[in-house]
Symmetry: C2
Subunit: 339 residues, 2 copies
């Protein structure tokens, strides 16, 4: 973008004018320099730590070619905002790197920008820089997100202690079901889902809600946190590994949406996939026992969704998953892996 805006190739002026006009309105921060410089110039407020994360979403891997362009823009920003929320950070600024096939259409670009615009407005953040390059493969979008927390208040994966209570926000597994439904619409009937259920699940796949509204709660109460992007079991495993603790997850404590419960009732064998497939963009927080009452009171007062799912144990570093009968659930894998 930064480079794209200012290109002066006379043969191709129109495309760059388009990119400039489409993305410039997203650059509401003065440090963005109208996206017409080599870099953004930011002055983070003093007394804060800066959190920085970047995530790629690639065609055919994180989104489908036919997904609406605005949902792709939404998702590109959402996945990075989710990382920042898990660290207790408020969103500060973001950069956008677009690798695009040469035949990309103006309407697609406008759709992408609309999706970014809606989510950045909701999150209170703005575009400050980036670049646009051609790709000989499919579309690849990388968002680099910057967040702020008061000095010393970033919540890491490291820090969970035996006796902490593990909470997860929202519901788990919806995005996986949404993706399955996009790949095979006949599953709606198999799973006994209404049209509304299908829309809900597909939207959870296409437009995940990063939990930036929970960041302050995480910052105030959690001593370790992770975002659930690669599967609940695998991500809890990561948090436990780094913190040198273990835990036992009881599947009946895991929060599922009404639509996911319907699918599970028809096909109980879906359970392992729901808790390992990823794309949830919910938060897992380890809250020390002494803060549990205050945390739960705050969650209730603000009508937030944070379900208590397990207690952190010491001893070994295992994450065990037990089904409703208390038997070990067979999992072929613990989280989504690209490789």
């Amino acid at each position: 973008m930064v480079d794209g805006v200012a290109h002066v190739d006379e043969k191709h002026g129109d495309e760059f004018d388009l990119i400039a006009s489409v993305f410039a309105p997203l650059a509401k921060d003065s440090g963005a320099l109208g996206l017409r410089d080599d870099a953004a110039v930011l002055r983070p407020p003093e007394g804060h730590e800066l959190l920085v994360s970047c995530d790629a979403i690639n065609e055919g891997e994180h989104f489908l070619k036919d997904d609406p362009a605005d949902s792709i823009g939404h998702k590109a920003l959402a996945v990075t905002l989710s990382d920042l929320a898990a660290k207790g950070a408020r969103p500060y600024a973001y950069l956008l790197s677009l690798s695009l096939p040469r035949d990309i259409s103006p309407d697609w670009l406008k759709g992408l920008a609309a999706g970014l615009d809606a989510l950045q407005t909701e999150a209170g953040v703005a575009l400050v820089g980036g670049d646009t390059t051609a790709s000989q493969g499919g579309i690849s979008i990388v968002v680099t997100g910057l967040g702020l927390v008061p000095q010393g208040h970033a919540v890491l994966r490291l820090g969970a202690k035996p006796g902490d209570r593990l909470y997860v926000s929202g519901t788990i597994g919806d995005a996986h079901l949404g993706l399955r439904l996009l790949q095979d619409p006949t599953l709606a009937e198999t799973w006994g889902l209404s049209g509304e259920d299908v829309v809900f699940l597909v939207e959870r796949y296409r437009r995940p809600s990063p939990r930036f509204d929970l960041a302050l709660l995480v910052q105030n109460f959690a001593q370790a946190s992770i975002d659930v992007s690669d599967g609940l079991v695998g991500d809890i495993d990561k948090l436990c590994q780094v913190s040198h603790v273990g835990t036992t997850l009881m599947t009946q404590n895991i929060p599922f949406s009404p639509a996911a419960r319907k699918a599970l009732a028809c096909e109980p064998g879906l359970l392992p996939s729901l808790i390992t497939a990823g794309d949830d963009y919910e938060l897992v927080a380890a809250v020390p026992e002494r803060c549990v009452a205050a945390f739960e009171a705050e969650v209730e007062a603000k009508q937030l969704r944070f379900a208590s799912i397990a207690e952190v144990g010491g001893g070994d570093l295992q994450v065990r998953v037990l089904d409703a009968k208390g038997e070990k659930l067979a999992l072929s894998h613990r989280g989504f892996s690209h490789f």
Copy 2:
């Protein structure tokens, strides 16, 4: 990476262990959290501005499939460090987003890391985060670079004034010739180049030298600056457009390497390509007349290469290019454009 390192997919543990072991040594900053968290935690020193830039390099566009992996790692970091240098910033930290085909080899990954490691050591910067995802297209690498300048001292594209002298570092057009030679090795004979010349030009394409050693000079003396990534004429055009000034470039003032001079002598028609093709990663700096003597003294004392190429004019916003006879040089385009 951040996510990659901690993946726990049991079927694929080896690949992720490899990624972890290959890239973890590049994460020498404590804020990187061993690349095992959702985001890096940085504490930029107070009293500074933070410069942030991201650039993608894509297979077939910015590098060739057969380029050595270490040169690809080098280039990925170099293009972003070049942006920061142009703003007068010292490198502070970087993030790496890798989109890779599933059949990528361990040796290729090790080569990539070696290229990153050598350049980050030279530049005094370290990896703090990133991610690794699968790509159904070719390799795409995005580096987000963070740099620091004392508050108020970032050098923008905006700020050139009539009467300023324009300087360019190093030599122009080598990378274009290097790429042409890789595409058609018989050109070496056409252009009367020695084996050494060919190696020099190919290296200028594969391993451009970002001018972070010139950043302080730019910060101290330039009132506008840009890095030459998309062609000298086009990039000067961008600087002039934003600054609302114009200039006239005399081609005999543009610095060319001995190898490029040989090629030009054999094929004078190469001239327009050399000054518009890009990939130079040199810096253009606008130095106000009152600082010219001090700037040139410093350049000479430090044995740096900064050639005076033009004077900034007012009036219109044109960038004119005149050949040795003072006639307007015909250019089919002014800079490299992806679209």
